[in-house]
């Protein structure tokens, strides 16, 4: 689960991590007032669930409150397209107004999970403000990585090693040690899957500041933090993805016209692969869960059909233990409820396959049965071509 920059900074500052003076605004008037408070010179930052905002024109330095207001008017409601958003971009609904700071040096700092060692790891680099992936490619020796032993936690001397490696010394080095320890504490207590401070800066005056911050929470741990669901900004998500989330379905909108419903993430990915192999274009990724139930199948079917781009539906359920006749009933009920005239191909495996097939073929829907994965994909592409 992602949150906005201003929310990430709010959380970090409760852990004693210094952030620039800032104020979040919902209207151009509020932006102007906030800019006035900062003394006119400030940074206006669009809040969206994606990085790369600077290059896309989502972050601007302004010198007067009126200028701040003008920039805000231009940004509000605009769909900002960055290299992380995809071509449709993300709508700007909130703007962060922040004091502008004279920067002496910039660093990169993050804590995330290292799958290889099954531990959290700290990543730091003296090349701040850049994409860490870019630094990793161009100058891997400038990246310092520390995997954290969960039994001992992150120790002061380890944090100091990192701070020294960044080239810091004196008081600011000790400030950085404390900041690193607090970031790790925040990561654990708030169940973060990523905390990224980029850039972390030293100001001309010699203070550390988290200039930009990103936090992602571990989706599996959201149940432990009652405040998290309220922090979500639903305007940043696809409406169908929100509905799918309510029913515990994993849905991702894609660009094609064949709606897909599959049980299990791996099989769902393989289904997208096989559709494209036979010349089809999937409209979505939808995983109804390894053990799909009749209700979930019915809800999933309705979600797929709400997407106007969908011109045909491919269902691939490898149930195994589940009964195919029950799944078939779920599909038929949902299709009838929304009066689905589109061509459908169903490929099912599991117990009672023959009963399931019979139910579908007698349902009056425009449906064909796929005998296996390849056969199903070929049939749906052929039906779509004819329709």
């Amino acid at each position: 689960m992602n949150i906005h920059e201003y929310q990430a900074k709010e959380i970090l500052s409760t852990y004693g991590i210094p952030v620039p003076r800032n104020r979040v605004a919902l209207t151009a008037d509020q932006v102007e007032r906030a800019a006035k408070m900062m003394g006119g010179h400030c940074v206006v930052k669009a809040q969206i669930y994606a990085g790369g905002r600077g290059k896309a024109g989502g972050v601007k330095l302004v010198h007067h409150p009126e200028q701040a207001s003008d920039v805000a008017k231009e940004l509000f409601g605009k769909r900002l397209v960055t290299k992380q958003t995809g071509p449709e971009g993300l709508k700007v609904r909130r703007i962060l107004v922040e004091e502008s700071v004279e920067i002496a040096r910039e660093f990169y700092l993050s804590i995330t999970l290292d799958r290889e060692s099954s531990r959290y790891c700290l990543i730091a680099s003296a090349e701040g403000g850049m994409d860490i992936e870019e630094v990793a490619q161009k100058a891997p020796d400038k990246i310092h990585v520390l995997t954290i032993d969960p039994f001992t936690g992150l120790r002061t001397y380890q944090a100091r090693k990192i701070a020294l490696a960044l080239g810091l010394s004196g008081t600011v080095c000790e400030d950085c040690v404390e900041l690193i320890l607090n970031t790790y504490k925040c990561c654990l207590e708030r169940d973060c899957s990523l905390i990224e401070i980029n850039p972390l800066v030293v100001t001309r005056a010699g203070w550390l500041l988290a200039m930009d911050a990103k936090i992602s929470f571990d989706d599996n741990a959201v149940y432990r933090h009652r405040e998290y669901p309220d922090m979500m900004d639903y305007s940043q998500l696809d409406p169908l993805e929100i509905t799918a989330g309510k029913y515990d379905l994993a849905y991702i909108k894609l660009t094609g016209n064949i709606g897909c419903m599959v049980n299990g993430a791996g099989l769902a990915m393989a289904t997208l692969d096989v559709l494209q192999e036979f010349g089809g274009e999937p409209a979505n990724f939808l995983d109804v869960g390894g053990g799909a139930t009749r209700e979930k199948v019915a809800e999933a079917f309705k979600i797929i059909l709400q997407d106007c781009d969908v011109k045909a539906v491919f269902v691939n359920i490898f149930g195994g233990i589940m009964r195919c006749d029950v799944i078939a009933q779920g599909i038929i009920e949902a299709a009838n409820e929304v009066h689905c005239p589109l061509p459908i191909v169903v490929r099912m495996d599991g117990s009672n396959v023959e009963d399931g097939k019979k139910l579908l073929l007698e349902s009056g829907l425009n449906v064909q049965i796929g005998d296996n994965l390849g056969d199903g994909a070929q049939k749906i592409v052929a039906m779509l071509a004819k329709s």
Partner: protein, 290 residues
């Protein structure tokens, strides 16, 4: 022969009184697995389907001699269940539970790695030695005894692969679903090592997906050590960048974890890769002829 489990394996089920715990206990027993005990804290002393239920794993081990645990405990208590089975000194814990918080798994995995207990999962379909013992949620009927070892990060895609193998007349020695989470117990290499040493396994089919670097690690290990033919399939060739495809691990970030890179590395290391998910069985047959 097989790896990890066989017809003599004595299994206890943690979370046996839950809905899915009980359902799959019945399914596994119907397949022939020896389920000797259940563990549900607070319900010790009762019998469920004739299986004695204990309050703790240690008690269950003491009275029944179980050496393997199958875990169906819901996410808030699942990491605890793994730790308990490690402390009881079991040989193997198979955790089916999906959705365990990462912070809990970091601890559980660190403790488990220092114990004698092996861990499969979490968020996995389990493990099966066809015709002998099923320990998990996979459908038994698609499997057939034979000599192909199967190892996979996925659930239902593994069923698809196994069905294709069975349809080609290629039976399986043991199929291991290692799980789709970012933190798991046994990894590809751990399972491949066992298949390499197992006289009952002649070749291996490996199923991977986008995200992380586990498939590449496995590929390099295969190149250096594997004495038996390996075939593979990688799901997600057509997945868009940066989107999470169901599994938390399956995310392509910063150009790492792409299917094409994994496929190329596997091929360079001598693995026969099926480009289409419809040809997994055929590809295995080809690899055997090499």
């Amino acid at each position: 022969m097989s790896i990890l489990i066989n017809k003599d394996s004595k299994i206890l089920v943690q979370g046996i009184t839950g809905k899915s715990g009980l359902f799959h206990t019945q399914q596994c027993r119907a397949y022939g697995s020896q389920i000797v005990a259940g563990v549900t804290p607070g319900k010790g002393g009762i019998h469920i389907e004739g299986i004695p239920v204990f309050n703790t794993v240690a008690e269950a081990v003491q009275y029944t001699g179980a050496t393997i645990s199958m875990i169906f405990v819901p996410p808030p208590g699942a990491a605890d269940a793994i730790l308990e089975s490690c402390e009881a000194g079991l040989d193997l814990a198979v955790c089916i539970t999906e959705g365990i918080p990462v912070r809990d798994m970091v601890i559980a995995r660190a403790v488990q790695a220092r114990s004698k207990t092996l861990l499969i999962g979490p968020n996995c379909p389990g493990i099966i030695t066809p015709g002998q013992c099923k320990l998990g949620i996979m459908p038994g009927y698609i499997h057939t005894p034979g000599k192909i070892g199967v190892v996979s990060r996925s659930g239902t895609l593994t069923y698809e692969a196994v069905k294709q193998l069975t349809d080609m007349g290629l039976g399986q020695s043991t199929c291991v679903g290692i799980g789709g989470d970012p933190i798991i117990g046994m990894k590809y290499i751990d399972v491949l090592k066992m298949f390499n040493e197992d006289p009952g396994t002649e070749a291996v089919f490996m199923i991977g997906e986008i995200g992380g670097g586990a498939e590449e690690e496995a590929a390099y290990w295969i190149k250096e050590n594997m004495k038996k033919p390996v075939a593979a399939f990688i799901a997600g060739s057509t997945a868009p960048t940066g989107k999470r495809m169901g599994h938390a691990g399956a995310i392509i970030t910063g150009g790492k974890g792409k299917a094409e890179d994994k496929i190329r590395t596997l091929q360079e290391c001598g693995v026969t890769v099926s480009i289409s998910p419809t040809k997994m069985g055929e590809t295995m047959a080809q690899a055997l002829k090499k």
